[in-house]
Amino acid sequence: MPDAPAAAPGLRLEVEPPLARIVIDRDEKRNALSIPMLQAMRRFVGEVAGDDRVRALVLRGEGRGFCAGEDVTGFEFPDVETAERFLDGPLDLFLALERLPKPVVVALHGFAFGFGSEVLLAADCVLAEPGTRLGFAEIDHGLVPSVLVTRGLDTAFRRRVLELALTGRRIGVEEALEARLVHVVVDDAAAAADEVARELAGWAPEAVELVKALLGAGAADDHDRAREFMPPVLVQVAVSL
């Protein structure tokens, strides 16, 4: 019997052992993530980590797409301290996902922009539907996709990272496959993600932990670098989506 889903506005956690799902459900804002939603997501990841019944995590979106990015409408960062405090949220979340000693499977459909694309760099398996559009449009707002230009270099390699970050261009699944952001293209990503997650949930936990620990070793250092260079970029940038 699945647990009743825990919820924060626009975001919910479904626990259906051995799986758990974090579902973004704010279609009226194209699943843009507000600060409270990011905080809730961070809490959910912590709950999943501590729940021994859960052996794999699925991340997906309801509605028209996966996620249109962080909702930072009207945000300004008057000083470095404000910027640093803001950054802690998303960076801690990325670190928590990579450090989670359980497989993280992401199901993409529709669109995955900004955070929606960056989170893929912390995921273990990314399944996308054929028409999905991805991209890192931070540069449109004078910002920088910090996870892409730190952690992402080891996955997508330098020149693709530069092209995606400097142009802010939207790409389809074929290019996303070449960039190694997406792993498999499937017609029904939510169903396929559940299937993959169920399979991965059956692996020996020590083996999964070891593989993730070995591959996640540099994550804290990469995010620390982002903490250093991002605040000056954020300061006095007024952002609207």
Partner: protein, 245 residues
Amino acid sequence: MTAGTAGSGVRVERRGDVLVATIDRPHRRNAADLDVYRALEEAVGDESAVACVLGGGGADFSAGDDVAIFDFPDAEAARAFVVEVTRLFRLVESAPRPVVAAVDGYALGFGFELALACDLAVATPDAVLGLPEIVHGAAPPNAIGRGPDVLGRGLVRELALRGRRWLTGVEAHRYGLVCELHPADGLLAAAVALAAEAASSPAFRSAKRLLALDAERAYGLAPLVMPRLLASPTVAASRARYARG
């Protein structure tokens, strides 16, 4: 047991100045055991050859480590085994001659890691490459060490955690693990030609030294992390299942 003699599981032949070592244990899909490791080490270290090509006889490159050998009485025995296989990869990377993998059929686990360690790899379009260790409760630390330099971390993580998701030769080529695709009947000749060409490049030695600079980092993990995992009950149970069917 020396390379090329009956029982070592590795056939050795010459194509001109290039030594070709072929894993030949078709009844085990060219799965490797200690005799295979040692025979390959000998082949790769043969100073009379200008280059070395590693291939698989029959329809496969290598389906992995022979799980029959995962019979370790304790962690120390497991560690000794892991050190031996890591030694082979280090030798491939430090050999002062080109070592080229010719991959046809299955290259799983050890086979995948061997292809990663070689300087260059060519394959057939239908080759199948993957890391199924996790299915048996084990892990591929050498692939985790060396793989990200070749395929990027995200893709290695996916392959290592999914276990049963395998790359075709075409995909391996798209991702740069394999640099040329050839039909099966031309694969060995293409590998030999590539190896000979690399051997005659004036920059070969210094370029290969540069490539191997971080071999310690790449292959230092396995002896530290594998023994406990290999001696675990999950791996033993998986081995028993494999032996039955």
